[in-house]
Every structure is written in structure tokens, then in C-alpha cells.
């Protein structure tokens, strides 16, 4: 263990769990750093936070941070998170999920969490494949991309996580990537700072599987792809269409303060206990 820690003893389970299991250059660790910095700048107490996850490389994140942590079953982070939030509405619930976890097996949970405006912040690490199980395609694998199960290229169209959660009713929807890490810190901080269902898609490299299958090179090369092939929504709006074509847009797409589920539920409880039906 290093003599001096970058994020000190405060946020990491540094002595028992580090170095972590993620591959060299995997983007998940960078997203974890962004989450920690966002929470640090909000000054939250560690014990007021629950980080809940499902299964996958991304879903190992709760192992490494010293909040209340819950590592559950594949696709069910939001189901367990919903239960925890309803049992203790004061808890700040943060669900970390992979693209497979949130869009494939957990796809139904996410649309209904968004519809309900459940007071949970969902951080989705999108590495365009099932990293943990050997790089099979996921619902966010781009058309034409190679994976272990699409050796001739993905023939299915992919989900846009941001458009999907926006349409389903989320209060906050944003996309960032691990190259533009200062921006990602801010997007996550905003996501944590309001009511209702709040989503950040964090694009991250999986050099071991997706990168290798698509000959994208090492982690540095994959980071360069984010640098070159993405554009901020504010910049994009100022440029002519041909300059932004083919680029993935980053930034905040939805930012509302619609009433979250816990507040509506409390209101229902109050009405029932006071005998008012309306």
C-alpha cells in the first residue's frame, strides 16, 4: 500500500482491497474516481450513502469504496436500491451498473425507475460489451462492431442510453467519458444534487475485450478515440451539421426537478393517516 494515498483513507478500502481487479487501462477505475470527487465536493457523510450494484466488472465497484455498499444480482441494482430507498428515504442511493446490467437483463428495472422518478442516481459505465464474461455483445454495442459473439460485426441497432432514459421520464440525463474527466466529475456532481431518477452514462474503455476485438489498440488509443470522436452538446450546437456528424455528443440532455417518488409516497402516507382521500 502506498505511503500516501491520493484519496486518502477516507473513501477507499485501501488496505484490504487494493490494487483492484480491473485490467490495466480499464476505464471503470476512472469513473470511480469521478464519483469519489463528486461526493467529496458535496461534503457528504460516508454513512449517508449507499452504493448498490448488480453483476459485472463495473458492479465490483462497491467492493472498493467505504460507503454503505450492496453488491447484488445481475441487473437488479435498481430493484435493491429502490427497496433500500423506500425503507430509509434519507439514504442517498447511488446505483452503479454496466451497459449489460442496466440495458439488457436490467432493462425493465431502469425504464420503470425512470417512469417513477425514483430518487436514485444511476451511473452507467458503458464499455459497449459484457466485459466480465469475455466480451459478448450488449444492447449498446454499436452496429458493425466486433465482439466475442458478433465476429462478423453486430447486426442489431443499439440503444442510446440517454434517449431511452429521457423518454422513460428521468429527471436528469447526461453523458460523459473518462478522457474528459473534469467534465465527468461535474456531470456526476449534478446528478447527485437533485431529486428523482438521475442518470449519467459514462463511456469507458474495455481494452481487454472490446478494444482488442475491434483492434482499437491499448487504453491510451481508446482514450484518444474519446478525445477525437466526441463533442460537447454546447459546442455541437454552434457548429454546422457536417462538423458534428459521426461524433458522440456529451453533456447534459435533461435537467428537471420533478417530484421524486419518495416525496409522492410520503404525501400518500400523510393523506392516508390523516383520513383525507384526495
Amino acid at each position: 500500500m502506498p505511503a500516501r494515498l491520493p484519496y486518502a483513507y477516507k473513501y477507499l478500502r485501501a488496505k484490504k482491497k487494493f490494487p483492484h481487479v480491473w485490467c490495466p487501462g480499464c476505464g471503470i477505475g476512472i469513473v470511480m474516481g469521478s464519483i469519489i470527487r463528486a461526493i467529496d465536493s458535496l461534503g457528504w457523510e460516508l454513512d449517508d450513502i449507499l452504493m448498490v450494484s448488480g453483476i459485472g466488472c463495473t458492479s465490483r465497484m462497491p467492493v472498493y469504496v467505504d460507503f454503505n455498499t450492496l453488491h447484488t444480482t445481475h441487473g437488479r441494482a435498481l430493484a435493491f436500491g429502490t427497496g433500500a430507498k423506500m425503507a430509509n428515504p434519507n439514504l442517498k442511493v447511488l446505483a452503479v451498473m454496466g451497459d449489460g446490467d442496466s440495458m439488457a437483463i436490467g432493462g425493465n428495472h431502469i425504464i420503470h425507475a425512470a417512469r417513477r422518478n425514483m430518487d436514485i442516481t444511476a451511473i452507467i459505465v458503458n464499455n459497449n460489451n459484457y466485459g466480465m464474461t469475455g466480451g459478448q455483445f450488449s444492447p449498446t454495442t454499436p452496429q458493425g462492431a466486433k465482439t466475442a459473439t458478433t465476429p462478423y460485426g453486430m447486426i442489431e441497432p443499439d440503444f442510446d442510453i440517454c434517449k431511452l432514459t429521457e423518454a422513460a421520464g428521468a429527471n436528469y440525463v447526461a453523458r460523459g467519458d473518462v478522457y474528459h474527466v473534469m467534465e465527468l466529475d461535474g456531470l456526476i456532481k449534478n446528478a447527485l444534487s437533485g431529486p428523482g431518477f438521475r442518470v449519467v452514462e459514462a463511456m469507458a474503455p474495455c481494452p481487454t475485450n472490446f478494444g482488442r476485438a475491434n483492434r482499437q489498440g491499448d487504453a491510451v488509443k481508446m482514450m484518444e478515440l474519446f478525445k477525437d470522436n466526441t463533442i460537447n452538446v454546447a459546442q455541437a450546437s454552434k457548429l454546422p451539421k457536417e462538423k458534428t456528424e459521426g461524433k458522440i455528443v456529451r453533456g447534459i440532455f435533461v435537467d428537471k426537478d420533478g417530484i421524486g417518488y419518495t416525496e409522492r409516497y410520503q404525501d400518500l402516507c400523510d393523506r392516508v393517516s390523516s383520513g383525507v382521500k384526495k
Binding site: A8, Y9, G33, Y179
Partner: protein
């Protein structure tokens, strides 16, 4: 020098010695997995990959303490003194 600094006087003020600048950026080899991200994207080329496949601080004097290396390191293996994150005074203990 037998004279002691007077109360409130710093060592530098007292004997005129320049404070030696300690390198702002530190790499912890135990956690570095040699991905090269910090080296590739440092705006001032402060860092280099060593033969041991770990990042090393080569030109600390060029460092502008932007902390981009620390933020992009997936391993939490970089520490920059000027980084804004609050350092915890909490010592070891409990599940860490």
C-alpha cells in the same frame, strides 16, 4: 548558526534559505499497472514509462499541478499535492 529564528519568523526568512520545492506529483509503484494513460496525456511531459512498466516522475519541476494524471489514473496510483480533494486525517482502522 547559533541565533534562533524569532517568533513568527519562517526558516527562510531567518536564514534566507530557499524552500526546496518537493515534487508535486507522486506515483505509487505498488498500485501502478503501467497503462500509460498518465504519461500520454500529461500536458507538460512530466512523466515517462520505465523499463519496469511503471510510470515515473522525470521532470517534476515542469509540473503545473493540473492533476489530470491523478484524475485519469484508473488505479488511484497518482497523487498530486495541489489536487483539490480533501485529504483525510483519519488513520487506519476499521475495514479499509
Amino acid at each position: 548558526m547559533s541565533e534562533k529564528p524569532i517568533k513568527g519568523q519562517t526558516k527562510e526568512e531567518h536564514c534566507g534559505a530557499k524552500k526546496k520545492k518537493t515534487p508535486a506529483v507522486h506515483i505509487f509503484p505498488e498500485w501502478c499497472k503501467g497503462c500509460g494513460i498518465c504519461v500520454a496525456f500529461c500536458p507538460k511531459q512530466v512523466l515517462e514509462m520505465g523499463d519496469d512498466q511503471k510510470a515515473h516522475v522525470i521532470y517534476p519541476e515542469k509540473c503545473i499541478e493540473c492533476a489530470l494524471c491523478a484524475r485519469r489514473c484508473p488505479e488511484f496510483a497518482v497523487y498530486v499535492s495541489g489536487d483539490t480533494i480533501k485529504e483525510s486525517k483519519k488513520k487506519s482502522g476499521g475495514e479499509k
